[in-house]
Symmetry: C2
Subunit: 237 residues, 2 copies
Amino acid sequence: MENVAPAVQGRRRAGRPPQPVLGSSRITKAALRLIARDGYKGLTMSALARLLNVAPSALYNHVSSKQDVLLLVEDHLMAGVDISGFAAGTWQQGVRCWAWSYRNVFARHTPLIPVIAVLPVTNAPQTVKMYEAVTAGFQAAGWAPERIIDAIVALESFIFGSAFDVNAPAEIFDAGELAADAPLFTQAVARRGAGTGAAAGAAAGAAERPVSSSDAAFGLGLEALIDGLWAHRTMAR
Amino acid sequence: MENVAPAVQGRRRAGRPPQPVLGSSRITKAALRLIARDGYKGLTMSALARLLNVAPSALYNHVSSKQDVLLLVEDHLMAGVDISGFAAGTWQQGVRCWAWSYRNVFARHTPLIPVIAVLPVTNAPQTVKMYEAVTAGFQAAGWAPERIIDAIVALESFIFGSAFDVNAPAEIFDAGELAADAPLFTQAVARRGAGTGAAAGAAAGAAERPVSSSDAAFGLGLEALIDGLWAHRTMAR
DNA sequence: CCACTATATGAATGCCATTCATTTTAGTTA
DNA sequence: TAACTAAAATGAATGGCATTCATATAGTGG
């Protein structure tokens, strides 16, 4: 028979290959490369298969749906969230460090947020690891155990919402023809960030001048949340 | 010729109809009915056309894309956000009332959030009207004009993130087999909300016992944000 | 009255996730 | 070692999706 040896870069024969071609790790990395190159609209099962030099249907031996792929990506990204501040400094510094890095990571991956926010953390080891470190930081700071999760959820909600805001265009608050009906709002938009000085923390928790509107809003809200939550850390509900 | 009069409920002939069949308002209402019945996965251009007794392509004479339909829906919903608290009470009461209703409205419409958070408010009159009322409330309370928008964006980010949380299943923090690796986190999840009493505001701003975990987290975060932001209302950045 | 524009139909297009029958190979067990 | 089972690939469907285009008809402004 012909076709005894496969062509160098040619099509694979059908059937289980001698060496494994796919696997969760390879799928995750390919998905990340695809997202980096083409964004989330470019992340299709066909494109993923093409990049892995595989038929689309082969992916379904390793993931049960595209949602599964998103889960893999999400958990991989969680490892990039900085939890080191909880061990190193005060609770406030730990939260600042964690929240800025968390937002910055997912600002480039907002399509994952509707998935993360609603899917159980089961089988997401990096995610669980992150929550464990954050919980430890809260406990060490003397938080009442029954309020820790609520506080984390509140911070996370703010972080997720803020990640969307990073991708908003500069003119998002341009009322256009409706400006005449909203004079106060239009004026406030025009004067946004006119002041100087620095109260908002930057990426590593240092006090720097925010470089963008979304940074300013995030810094303001985060400092407000840190102060406000701290005041409630032991009060009864 | 036959077919002089159209059948009672039969197919319309091709060509412009004597009376207008579609229009932004009718499309918006049909979309809302569809969402209420089948959720956002049921909101397809085909289903919309079917409900309106029209061919799918006819919709494109009134909207330029499905995103346009989502915009129409979004702006319609904004009218349901309660801004009356800003005129009636203190700034704190106004924000509470607004934030709870805003979250409650969009908790049932989370697929809109990625759209809202990123699309300009131009041609969204209800949305602009809402922002105008909120801005007025901030100004009346003595906020520095250059910080108002940042504060609103911070609150809105928290609201959007919290809207997702409403739809999270109860077992979202169940670590499953990973529980052994995250003892502190697992314990905190188990003890979540074990306390009693009430500090969190409920829907209308009254101090009631939160009925769900997401209500508790939202109440805690909102009160923290209100306190923390108020402290920063005039400080220089 | 005539050209133009608005608005409908219906048929196509191309992309997408997913499924299924089939094939080949890797382990596991007798 | 032979036989059986499970894993993992191919390639050809399937059905749904948003969107486009050619065509037909009706109101409107010159």
